[in-house]
Amino acid sequence: MDFSLTDDRRMLADTLARYLADQYPIEHRNTVAYAAPFHDPAKWAELAELGVIGALVPEAKGGFGGTGFDIAVVFEALGRALCPEPMLAALMGLTALSHTDQELDPIIAGETRIALATGELDAPYSSSDIATTATGDRLTGRKSVVYGGGVADTLLVTARHGAGIGLYQVAASDTQITPFGMVDGGGAAEVFLDNTPATRLLADAGPALAHAETAGIVALCAEAVGVMEVLKDQTLDYLKTRKQFGRAIGDFQVLQHRMVDLTIEIEQARSITIQAADSLGTPHGPRHASMAKNLIGRAGKLVSEEAIQLHGGIAMTWEYPVSHYAKRLIMIDHQLGDTDTHLERVIAG
C-alpha cells in the first residue's frame, strides 16, 4: 500500500497548480466562464502545451499518462482553480476515440477539439436508452447538454442503427448547434441532427462509451474533491477571522462540530475517489465509479450547503468566490449520473 503520488504526477500536479494560480485567477475565471465561448481559447492552447491533455492519454495512444491517478491529479487541480475549460469533453472524447484507430495527436496538441454527445432530453444519464437514429451515414435526433459542444470541431455522437448503438463522428460545421453557458460557468450545447452526414467509427459503441464514462466520473469526482478542499479552506479561514458577538465565529461549538463533519466527508470523498481512480480500467471500475459518484453527490451537497450556511450572506454574493465553488460542486451532481442514478447502479451490482 502506498498512498503517495509518483514523482511524475507530483510534478504535473505542481506545474498545473502553479499555472492555474498564475494564469487563471478567480476574476479571470469568472470573466470567461460566464460569457461566450464560456472558456478561454488561449488558455486552452497553453494547457495543451503544458501537456495537460496528453496526461489523460496512455503512451500507446500518443500521450504520457491515462491512468486513473493521472486523470485524478489533473482534475483535482482544475477543481481547485474552478477551471471552466472543456477538459472533461477532451478526456471523454479521447477515451472513446482510443477504442478506434483515429489519430489523437491534433486533439492532444490542442489543435482540434472534440465533444462526446450521448445524452438526450429523456435519457440524460443512459447511453443505451437513446432515440437518435442512423440511416446509413446520416443521423437524426437531438443530443442535449453536450459539455464542450459549443466549441468542438468534431462531435462524437451515439446513434441507433439496425444492430445496436454505434459511435459516429460528425463535423460541427455540418450540424445545428445551440451553445449556451451554464449556471456554474463553462459551456455546453444542444445539438440538432437532421439527416446530418456522419462517419461511423464503431458499430458497437458500448465498451468505448463505458470506458469514457467511467473515466469521466473519476475526473468529476477528483474535480469535486479539489472544489471541496477549497471550500473547506475558505470556510475555515472565514470561521477564524469573522467576528460576531465579540468573538471569532469559529469559537462557537456548533460551527466547530459542523466543520468537523464536513471535513470527515471530504476525507471520505477523497478516499472513494482514490479507489475509483485505482480501479479504472479493471472489472471493478464501473462499480467503484458509481460508488464514488454517489458519495461525492452526497458529500458535495453537504459541503456546498454548509460552506454557504457557515459563511452566511457573503457566500450568497457573486463577488465572493465561495458562491462559484458552491455552484460548481452542486452541478457536478448533474453530470454523468446523479446520486440516485449511481445508487441504483450500485444496488444493481
Partner: protein
C-alpha cells in the same frame, strides 16, 4: 379538537379565491410560477389591485386601512395567494415600517407616511444589516451625530432588498457610542434623494439582483424623522423582527413548490418512465410531503395559540427553521429532477423548440441557489436555534 375551518373562514376562503380568479393578471402569475423577477411596475400594479380591495396592509388595524383579520384569516389569504401564484407583496412598508409607525410613530408620522405606503407613492427599503453586523445586529456601526435639528449620518448598510426600486429607507443608526451595544441605537427615516446616499447593487450567487449596499456620507436628516425615542431604537428593532415573522413557516410557498415538483416529476422521463415512478425520487418527495403535512398542522397550532394569546412566542423560531428546511428541500428536489437540463443559464436561444424543460421550470437551479438565503436571512437558523434553546427550553 377540530382541525377544519369554520363556516366563516370557509366563506372567506371562497371570497379570496374569487378575487384572485378575477383580479390577478395571468402574466404576473406566470412569472411567479416560473420564478422570474417581476418588474417594478408589475409589483406596484399588484399592490394597487390589493389596495383597491382593502387587502393590501393585512397586518394593520382597520383604522389605518387594514382589513382587520386575525392570524387564521391572514393565513388563509396567504395560502390562497400562494396557490394562485400571486406575487408576494413588498414587505418593507407594509409589514415592517407600517406596524412600527402604528406602534411607535407620532400621529403626524402616521398621517404622513401610512397613506403613502398604501397608495404606492412610497416604496420603502430597509437599512438594518451592516457588513460587520449581520446576525449580531446590535454591533452596528453606522453613526448619526446630532447637529442642530439634524442628524449627520455616516456609514454603510447592506442586504437592502429591492432598494433599487425604493424612494425611502428606514435605518437603525448608532446615536450613542457608550454603554451596551443594544443601547444608543435609533430608528430614523430617510429620503433616498438626500445628498450623500449611494445605492450599489449586489449581484447574487445565481446572477440576479435583489439586494444592495447603501453608503451614507455626511447625510443630513431632520430630527423629526426619528421614530420613537432617541437611543431606544433597539426596542423597535426587536418589535420589527418579531413582526417579520408573519407567515414565517412559508407553508403556502412550500405547498405550491410541492405541487410544482410533482408536476415536474411526472413530465421528466428516465429509463422510459416518469421520474415520479422512480422509487428513490418518490421516497425523497414523499418524505418532504409528510414533513410539510405535519408543518401545516404545526403552523395552524401556533396560529391558534397566537389567536388565543396575542403575540407569537419563541416557538415561531421552530416554524422558521423547519419551514426553511422544507422549502430548501423542495428546491433541491426540483433541481435534481431536472438533471443536466438544470445546467443552462437562462437564454433566449433555448426557448421554443430548443427549450430543455417547460418554461415554468427553467429557473430550477437558480431558484435552488437563490433560496439558500432562506436559512440565512431574517435571523439565521443558527440564531433561531439559540433563541429556542434559551427561551423555549431554558438552556
Amino acid at each position: 379538537m377540530d382541525l377544519s375551518y369554520s363556516a366563516d373562514e370557509l366563506a372567506f376562503q371562497s371570497e379570496v379565491r374569487a378575487f384572485l380568479d378575477a383580479e390577478l393578471p395571468p402574466e404576473m402569475s406566470a412569472k411567479v410560477r416560473a420564478g422570474t423577477d417581476l418588474t417594478k411596475a408589475q409589483m406596484e400594479n399588484w399592490h394597487g389591485i390589493l389596495n383597491a380591495r382593502g387587502w393590501l396592509a393585512v397586518t394593520w388595524p382597520t383604522e389605518h386601512g387594514g382589513p382587520g383579520w386575525g392570524p387564521v384569516k391572514r393565513h388563509i389569504f396567504e395560502e390562497e395567494c400562494c396557490r394562485a401564484f400571486a406575487p408576494r407583496t413588498v414587505p418593507f412598508g407594509l409589514n415592517m415600517l407600517g406596524p412600527v409607525l402604528i406602534a411607535f410613530g407620532t400621529t403626524d408620522q402616521q398621517a404622513e407616511y401610512l397613506p403613502r405606503i398604501l397608495d404606492g407613492r412610497d416604496w420603502w427599503c430597509q437599512g438594518y444589516s451592516e457588513p460587520g453586523a449581520g446576525s449580531d445586529l446590535a454591533s452596528l456601526k453606522t453613526r448619526a451625530v446630532r447637529d442642530g435639528d439634524h442628524y449627520v449620518i455616516n456609514g454603510q448598510k447592506t442586504w437592502t432588498t429591492l432598494g433599487q426600486h425604493a424612494n425611502r429607507i428606514f435605518c437603525l443608526v448608532r446615536t450613542k457610542a457608550e454603554g451596551k451595544p443594544q443601547e444608543g441605537i435609533s430608528f430614523v427615516l430617510l429620503d433616498l434623494d438626500t445628498p450623500g446616499i449611494e445605492m450599489r447593487p449586489i449581484k447574487l450567487i445565481e446572477g440576479g439582483f435583489e439586494v444592495n449596499e447603501v453608503f451614507f456620507t455626511d447625510v443630513r436628516v431632520p430630527v423629526a424623522n426619528l421614530v420613537g425615542t432617541e437611543n431606544e431604537g433597539w426596542t423597535i428593532a426587536k418589535f420589527l423582527l418579531s413582526h417579520e415573522r408573519t407567515n414565517i413557516a412559508g407553508v403556502g410557498f412550500s405547498m405550491t413548490a410541492l405541487s410544482e415538483v410533482k408536476r415536474l416529476a411526472q413530465q421528466v422521463r428516465r429509463s422510459g418512465k416518469p421520474l415520479s415512478e422512480n422509487p428513490h425520487f418518490a421516497a425523497r418527495m414523499a418524505e418532504i410531503e409528510i414533513d410539510l403535512e405535519a408543518m401545516k398542522i404545526t403552523n395552524l397550532r401556533m396560529l391558534a395559540q397566537a389567536e388565543a394569546q396575542g403575540a407569537p412566542g419563541a416557538e415561531t423560531s421552530m416554524l422558521k427553521i423547519k419551514g426553511t428546511v422544507i422549502r430548501q428541500a423542495l428546491n433541491d428536489l426540483a433541481r435534481r429532477a431536472l438533471g443536466p437540463a438544470a445546467a443552462p443559464l437562462p437564454s433566449e436561444d433555448l426557448e421554443g423548440n430548443a427549450a430543455l424543460v417547460p418554461p415554468d421550470f427553467a429557473n430550477g437551479a437558480a431558484r435552488y441557489f437563490n433560496n439558500r438565503k432562506l436559512s440565512i436571512f431574517g435571523g439565521s437558523n443558527e440564531i433561531q436555534r439559540n433563541i429556542l434553546a434559551k427561551h423555549a427550553l431554558g438552556l
